[in-house]
């Protein structure tokens, strides 16, 4: 099921909230959440839901064994088995086609390429189970004894299909006991409206520009290529951060406090900072579980860095462009590391902003084109070697028609809401005014979004395919 569908907003969610409110006590509320989460998932994945349930059983059992044999051989065996199982499932369902294709290409063999559909959310929930298992092994968390509670952690529908990758440690206590205040509910609902607005009003509209210019890169001009890739970058940001807003907001309505996944990434001054602000739950996962892997000896800094960015690329998809995209970021992080933080700061801020935005948006180009020949055409076109010149009539028309959309999108990349709150929270009158204004704005966003969704046939979130 998709958040940005009228069925979800007006039937599923209200029904879930009603049952949740009626249920007495945390245990009953958890039952409500699990049932609705399973229905939410089964709506789009009636078959693969069993894969997720098996994964839940395997990891839950491994967690218990780790707890039982803490520090002994059984602990390591259970940890390794569970992580291998998780990676194997991800490998089979996400990468088998890609691996076979490349083996065929490399050895001119003709092994039939398996046509396996990607189970929704597998990249996200697999990382959640891996982090749970390793945290149990490292004794950072106590293994969850109740299967029901473990299932709730894994299936909790706000974050199930496209993140954030919520760690067990983040909601460990809230699974057992949580209080929901009126301000939680109000904050959560505002956040949901904000996310819906980002998705439907900005991302979906920007996608039209991105697809018309990047989708037909062979007939785009140089300006068209840049315009398209900027629209695409903004689209991904509003799509994915909008999804995270909805997830965090819904979580809050149910009394869970998830960590932030985006912190206005485009205001970054360098690439290192970009990744501290973009898809934070993924980069912290790699930081905690991959970066410090002690297999590179004295070269562990470079080895760890390379491995993290290779994994980041691979995680995004079974396609070479994602691997290139990951390593591309690894190179810039490496360069920044070599220059050093002190020297980086000496470079004028304007230049650092231009440099980082340039790298990021070229990166989005790599991210867009799964076919490498098309990616080549994009590079040629963007850097002035294309066959369609610098500017054409269709560029001007699209720019004129979408001027306000692009301006609003760019403004929304800045931390406006938090800046307003910082000032308004100082006095109760301004605070009350801003709170009321936020409620009105949320209601307006919801109305406009609903109107726009009436005609929408399909608008899945981009990160559903990862």
């Amino acid at each position: 099921m998709v958040f940005s569908r009228l069925f979800f907003i007006y039937i599923f969610l209200p029904l879930c909230l009603l049952c949740y409110a009626v249920a007495r006590g945390t245990k009953a509320k958890n039952t409500v959440l699990i049932i609705f989460s399973l229905v939410f998932y089964a709506w789009g994945e009636p078959v693969y839901i069993f894969l997720m349930l098996i994964t839940a059983v395997v990891n839950y059992t491994a967690g218990l064994l780790i707890g039982k044999y803490q520090g002994q051989k059984g602990d390591t065996a259970a940890t390794v088995s569970a992580v291998v199982y998780d990676l194997l499932m991800l490998g089979v369902f996400k990468y088998s086609g890609f691996i076979v294709e490349n083996i065929n290409a490399l050895f001119s063999s003709s092994i039939p390429v398996p046509n396996i559909r990607l189970p929704i959310g597998i990249s996200f929930y697999t990382f959640q189970t891996i982090s749970y298992i390793i945290d149990c092994h490292w004794e950072k968390v106590k293994p969850q004894k109740s299967f029901k509670n473990f299932l709730l952690f894994l299936t909790l529908f706000p974050q199930l299909v496209a993140g954030p990758i919520v760690r067990y440690s983040t909601i460990e206590k809230e699974i057992e006991e949580r209080t929901i205040t009126l301000s939680d509910v109000s904050y959560g609902l505002n956040r949901v409206a904000l996310g819906l607005g980002k998705k439907v009003l900005l991302a979906n509209q920007l996608s039209i520009i991105a697809d018309s210019f990047l989708g037909n890169i062979g007939s785009s001009t140089m300006l068209g290529a840049w315009y398209g890739v900027i629209a695409y970058g903004l689209q991904i940001y509003f799509d994915f951060s909008g999804y995270s807003d909805i997830a965090i907001g819904l979580g809050r309505v149910f009394g869970f406090h998830f960590d932030e996944n985006f912190k206005h990434p485009f205001i970054c001054k360098d690439i290192t900072e970009f990744w501290q602000r973009w898809h934070i739950s993924l980069s912290t996962f790699f930081r905690d579980y991959v970066l410090y892997i002690p297999i590179f000896g004295k070269r562990r800094k470079y080895g760890g860095l390379f491995l993290v960015w290779l994994c980041t690329g691979i995680w995004h998809g079974a396609s070479w462009n994602f691997i290139i995209w990951g390593l591309y970021y690894g190179i810039f992080i490496f360069i920044e590391m070599k220059i050093g933080k002190k020297n980086m700061k000496k470079i004028p801020v304007v230049i650092r902003h231009i440099y980082s935005k340039f790298v990021i948006f070229v990166g989005f180009g790599i991210f867009y084109f799964e076919k490498l020949d098309k990616l080549g055409t994009f590079f040629k076109t963007a850097f002035g070697f294309g066959k369609n010149g610098f500017i054409a009539v269709q560029d001007k028309i699209s720019l004129m028609n979408n001027m306000y959309l692009v301006i609003v999108a760019v403004i929304c990349c800045f931390p406006i809401i938090s800046s307003i709150k910082k000032v308004s929270d100082k006095h109760f009158v301004t605070k009350a005014t801003v709170t009321s204004a936020a409620a009105i704005a949320s209601a307006l966003i919801l109305i406009v979004t609903s109107v726009m969704l009436v005609d929408a046939t399909t608008n899945p979130f981009l990160y559903f395919r990862f």
Binding site: K140, T272, Y292, P294, K301, G304, M337, K341
Partner: protein, 80 residues
Amino acid sequence: MNTNEIIPRLNEVFRDVFGDSSISVTASTTADDIEDWDSIEHINLIGAVESEFGMRFKMREVSGMKNVGEMINIIAERGK
């Protein structure tokens, strides 16, 4: 080794790694207190601390350290 012996030596390592002679670490110092202390610098720091105290950290320790206090405890146990 006790904490009083460790802190001055550790402080030197921090000053050296972060190139800042004004750093003065305590058990409660965290990565938030030192501007440049991010995940990459963390590897540099761990490497420098390891060679200063002639010991190795385990991955779970490198990854899970919440503050300098935890680092000191590990050094007190295994450092030279």
